[in-house]
Structure formats: structure tokens, C-alpha cells
Symmetry: C2
Subunit: 459 residues, 2 copies
Amino acid sequence: MRPETKDQLRSIVGEANFSDQLIDLVSYSSDASEHAHRPQAAVWADSAEEIQAIVGLANAEGFPVTVRGAGTGLSGLSVPAQGGLVLDLGRMDKILDISIGDRVAVVQPGVVYASLEKALAPHGYVFPPDPASGKACTLGGNVGTNAGGVKGAKYGTTRDYVLGLSVVLGDGRLMKTGNRAMKSVSGFDLTRLFVGSEGALGIVTEIILKISPKPLATATTLAIFDDLEDAGRAVSGVMASGVIPSVLEILGRETLKAINQNTELNLPEVDAMLLAETDGYTQGEADYQMERVVEQFSAHNAREVKRAESASQAAELWKARKSCYAVLARLRPNFTLEDITVPMSQVAPMLRGVQDIAARHQVQIATFGHAGDGNLHPQFLYDGADQDERGRVEAAAGDLFQLAVDLGGTLTGEHGIGLSKAAYMTLEHDPVAMDLMRSIKKVCDPNNILNPGKMALDV
Amino acid sequence: MRPETKDQLRSIVGEANFSDQLIDLVSYSSDASEHAHRPQAAVWADSAEEIQAIVGLANAEGFPVTVRGAGTGLSGLSVPAQGGLVLDLGRMDKILDISIGDRVAVVQPGVVYASLEKALAPHGYVFPPDPASGKACTLGGNVGTNAGGVKGAKYGTTRDYVLGLSVVLGDGRLMKTGNRAMKSVSGFDLTRLFVGSEGALGIVTEIILKISPKPLATATTLAIFDDLEDAGRAVSGVMASGVIPSVLEILGRETLKAINQNTELNLPEVDAMLLAETDGYTQGEADYQMERVVEQFSAHNAREVKRAESASQAAELWKARKSCYAVLARLRPNFTLEDITVPMSQVAPMLRGVQDIAARHQVQIATFGHAGDGNLHPQFLYDGADQDERGRVEAAAGDLFQLAVDLGGTLTGEHGIGLSKAAYMTLEHDPVAMDLMRSIKKVCDPNNILNPGKMALDV
């Protein structure tokens, strides 16, 4: 990047909001994935107009722009893979409007998920997707990745709640999509084209979100299974029983072992543990659904079923699940959290497949995930400095993706493609779909300025 | 269309599945809207391969292809506005798979909504969008229009249930999007780009739908209001009360009058009537929500609130709502059912605005609609042969659309743009959004073969 270009960036955002200091460039070279690449400069923008000027300059000068929220992504989405500029939206952190009457919140992209949660709480409302990184991640990042969480089976993902957007396209033009109405079929669904587009089509500057009333009652149950396939069949059984739990999480044997090694929880080291939550306005509604869930657990040979009798008991049951990520991340020098999703009936075969793949490639994989929507997180634990082990992990990951697709599923349920899965896109998408994605990219970002190198879109 | 071209079409679909007989061409010249234009030929295809061959021929010969399901559309979506070929998908009517274990149904586009409903009923499952034309309309049409119905506020629209598609693009290539998994963030959301695209981007040949368990309990209440604004405020009050009714319908004074003139229902001719339904697995859950609804009705001066004590009483309360369309359609020689949607808090101002517009232009407008998601159906009743009245109706419609957009809403909540609202697209969409839609159209259908003349996409 030429010194003159840096000066132009300074004049757009102000001296204080530009940096090419090493410490910033190093910070902005990575996210929560294993990927890293150093940018040449970073800016903190605070308006659509500034972003338009930055994107205009990028087009004129030919440098890449990678937009960044909180950098909590797990697939390298905000890693500036080809250098250039990191555009941090953290300053655009205003909640512009909360209207309970309209069931709408209007926010800037840099608002942290938890800030919106806190602002909605006094009204008894939530923005339901509830990503695991909610305390840190931004709503712009949620839109860019179509973020989801433990409640996806019942409440869906970010996509289901975005009513409208303001977007600066890759060619610098500002566009509005959607509106504040609960439904619209006016023109093509441009809004959802941008949800999950990983910063490759445009930069979101304002978001209109649908919000929902918070359920008033819950029921929580934990079940342990000696046999993994029984647990998988219990999951399918629950999802076919006519109720939809708000949570149905699974923890595999390796995960339970790791939790025991790092906590005082003393979990039984069985094949699998399931954690279920049901909800409603009334306790009777939550209980009715939980009875159906427990019937399925029992029908599929659960060794033990523990039902929480109080909020504190429920919190106790949640402890194991909440510790998973932190505990597993600590076990070996490196970890990669995968994110495949399979049809509901294929949860048991997928879990067995993960075990087979681990054995075949002699790698350590600990699995947990959102069984209720078929989204499993097999976590590879390895030493990245060990070239041989690294190679085996990569080969195992390839097998994992192939199996998910063979079972009728997808490479990623909530973490996105980014850099991590770019090489595997064609496993899932046919050449016509790949070509259409590339053509849409070209329409929105003709000079390939926005987040280049991601999603296998570079031709 | 040249005789040789017709012969080629005959050889693709078989002699029996081709027609250029006047009776067929007249049938295929219109849908349920006021628009009509005669095609030059019609074919009944029964496979993706046949459709690819037809679209290939259309590109080579330059004739338009307008795809058609049951022709129940209200905006001219399946009217062959520039002649050419009508492609009827009625023969592609197979339910390919129902998997309760996967919560998935896989269908061909010509399956009638009610047929899927019937096939799912024994399992206790539904495909929730429930369009008013469900007995006749096809699932391909539901996808093409992103169809919705009375339960949109709680259960969303077709978009929320489409997991994957097979599509023949306008250039003749076959593409698959999505999969059978409950969630995926792999690549751009091509699936939802095609939902609601009105047959202008591609022809859907297979649909993977998410299905849902049917609620087991309902509560139903009807309330009458002397003052329209009170009714509108009651709607906003309900939607801000923390519950989401499965149904919240409104019938205005003109509609109630019309029903009384044509039925024995003897409704009170008040400013507005609201019909609410709540649901759940348990009666307690449905009742809890209905208590919140009734509180709002009472707080906003409902003159009378009738709660159904039995299924037959509930059916009685539904009678007025179910008769609306048929009754209103009979009153004058012509009718146009509008479909604007406004933010929840703007229902009362919109209802008042409709009355003002009717008075200002001296036209008859009877309103009913899905108040629970802000989707109102003002129905224009007029004599199309009276040029002056027709002109006033058109002017009033323009004012109606402008008001909906000014209030933060949209031209159409569920009927689509088609021919009816093509001229108004720019009221709602900025020039950049219009340009992006046109560019996407060009990418998918470079020769503008598919359903030309709709949605203001022709440049």
C-alpha cells in the first residue's frame, strides 16, 4: 500500500482511526481460527459514507478490504488472506431503535450480541440466534456468517430474523434492502443474499432485526447413554416425536473425558450424554414436551435420565455443556472445531463415522454439538508443529466433510466457509452453483476487493 | 412461433403434451388477477431434462417461457405477458419422499398444497405456510411467490421452510441448492434467492421442504370494535404483549357489510372485527396466550369479545373470515385484492389511510387481512368497463402503495409483484437495489427468456 493511499485513508477516517502499527497489524492478522495473514493497514470507520469512500479508494487503488467485527469467527472469515486493509466496524456500535410495537430492533453492525440482549431484556424480548460467542461477537458478524447457536432447532438462525439491511456494495454503492414489516415478497430476496455472504458481496452498515418474546418457562433434562448409536437414535426419535426441544445437545465420550480431566464435574465417561431443554409460556407446556423427550430417551436405552427440579439444578446440568469448548481447546497445542450438519436421521451414522475416521487416521476427535438440528462439532485436537499429525488431521477433515455430504448434509452449519473450507466447496456444490456464486460475486464486487480468497470464489 | 419450433416442442414433451389449440391458449392467458395475454403454445413437461430442452430451445429461438402451477396467483405472475410458451408443471405432481425422521418432505413443483397436507396429516405434521388457495395452488407456485397465509405472524412464510431446490436456470443449466440438513451456511444462500423470484430466474424442478409438528391445542376468540383505530391499537398491543397468536385477522366495516349482504351471518356492522387464534401442545398454553390477547382487546375498548368454547363454536367464529374473498369478489363486476404490509405499529394508521384514500378518490375499498403480521388486503371493488372509475381505482392504488412504503412497509406481503405492481417497484426499492436485481436476472437468464415483463426487470 502506497504512502499516499495511507494518507487518503487517514483523511477519510481521521488520523486516530487509522493504523499501520505492527501491533495492530498483528492483532488483525487472525481470528479464532488457525489462519493468519497480516494486513497492511487497519481503519475504524463509523458511517456508511466513510465506508463508501474507503471502498471507492480500494477499487481505485486495487487493495483488498476485509471487514471485521469481533474476530470470533472459526473459519478465517475476517483474516485478510491477501493483505490490504482491515476495516473494523467496532465503532459502529449504536442500537438505533428498539420498537416492541413493531417487534423490531435497528442496529449498527458493531453492536455486540450481548449488548442487544441486555437492551431487550427489560422488555422480555430476545434476538433468538444466541451464538456461543454472544458475549463478544457483533451483530454484523452474525449477519455475515448467518450465526446460529444451541437453540437453532426451534428458533432458527440469524437469517430468520433479518428484515432489512443497508449495504455498501463492493463497487462502493450504498443500497437498502427490506423494511420494518414482518413479511414482504417485493422483488428478489436481496436481504438474505447478504446474510451469510461472509463480507464478500458488501459491507453491512445497518441491520433491521425481528425480535421475539422470551419464553417464560423451561424444563431441563440430561441423559447418559452407554451406546453412541442409541444416543443418535434417541435424537432422531425426539425430533420425530412431534415436539421441538429448544435445546438438544450431545457430548461424546472424548469430550466427557476431557471435561473430567479439567473440571470437578465427575461425569460418567459413557459413549454420549444428551442435554435437552423445552420451553413455553406455561410450565405445563414445557413439561408436556419434556415428557415426550424423556419417553424417547428411555425407549433408546438411556442408562440414566436426570431432570432438573429447579433453576439451580438446571444450571448444574448445563455446566458440562458450557465447559466443552474451553476445556477441549486446552488439551493439545492446536485444535480445529469442525461444524458439519447432517439430516436428523443421520446423526447416529455421522457420530459412528467420526469415530471410524479418528481411528483410521489415528487422530484425536472430541465431538459435541447441536444434535437437535443435526449440527455436530467434531473437534480435532493435535500438535500443529508435528507435520505428520497435521497431515493426518487434514486427511481426516477431508473424510469428515465427504461423509457429511454423502449423508445428505453440509460442510458447515454455522461457522461458515471462509478459508477453512474453501477447498471443499465443490464437494457440496455443483459446478453450476459455484459458477452462479462467482457471477453474483462479480456483479456485487467487480474488482474482487471484498474479502478475496474466501469461499473459493476467486476464479 | 415457427411451425418448426412447435414440432421441436412436440418432440421434447410428446404430441399429447403440447397444445396450440385456442381453448388452451385462452385458458393459459390469465391467472386469478385482472391481467391477460395469450401465449402461442403450451406444454406439460414432466422432468428436469424436458425442461432443460425446452429452455434450450427458447434461448435458441428467442421465445419467452412463462412457468405455471395452478394459476391461482393474484398479481399476473403466470400470465405470459409477452406471449411465447406457457410451461405447465401440473404433471410433475409427485411427493418424492416424506421423512418424519429428517423433518423433511421432498416434492415436485406440481404437487398441490392440499395433497402434501393430506399426506402429512397421518404423521401429525404440516407444511405451515397455509396459503388461502391451498386447495388448488401448487408447491412450485408457493416457492415462486414465497406464499404465506393466515399463520404468518407465528409460523412465517414458504421461505422459512425451503431447505433446497433443483432449478433449471434461464440459460438451461440444471443446478442444485441446499440439502436435507436443518441448517447450512455453506456459500451464498442461493436457495432463498429463488424463493419468491416469480419464475424470472429459473424453473424449480424439485423442492426439499422442512415440515413441522401440528399444534395439538388451540383457543379462538372474536372481538368487535366500534372504532377502527382502537382495533388497530389492539393489534399492536397484542403483538407487543409478549405472545404471538397463530392467527390475528381483521375485517373492516365494508367487508362486514358485504358479508351480511351475501350470507345469513348477521354480523354487527362495526368499524372492525378481529379474529384471534392461539396454539400450543397443551390447552393451558393456548389459553395463557389467549388471556393476554383478550386483555389487549379489552384495554382497547372492544365492544364485545366472544370466546369459542368448542371446536364447532370456533368454526362458527371463522365463518365470517372464510367468506371474505368470495363475498367481496361478487359485489361488483371487477375486484383487485391488494396486499400491502406495514410495521406492526402502523396497522391503525394504515387502516385509517385506506379509508381516507377511498374517500379522496371516491372508490369502494373493503379491507381484511392478516393483522398479526401487518399484511392487509384492501380490496378494490369497481366496474372495469367504467373508464372513469377504473382511473380512480388506479390512482387510489398508487396512493395506497405510497402510504405503505411511507409507513415503513412494502408493496406486497404475499401476492408478489408480477404485472400488478411492476410499475411501483421503484417506490420501494432504490436504484442500486433495482440495478442489482436486474444484474442477477441477467446472470441467471441472459436472454431474458423466463417470464419477461414482470417485476420491472426488463431494462
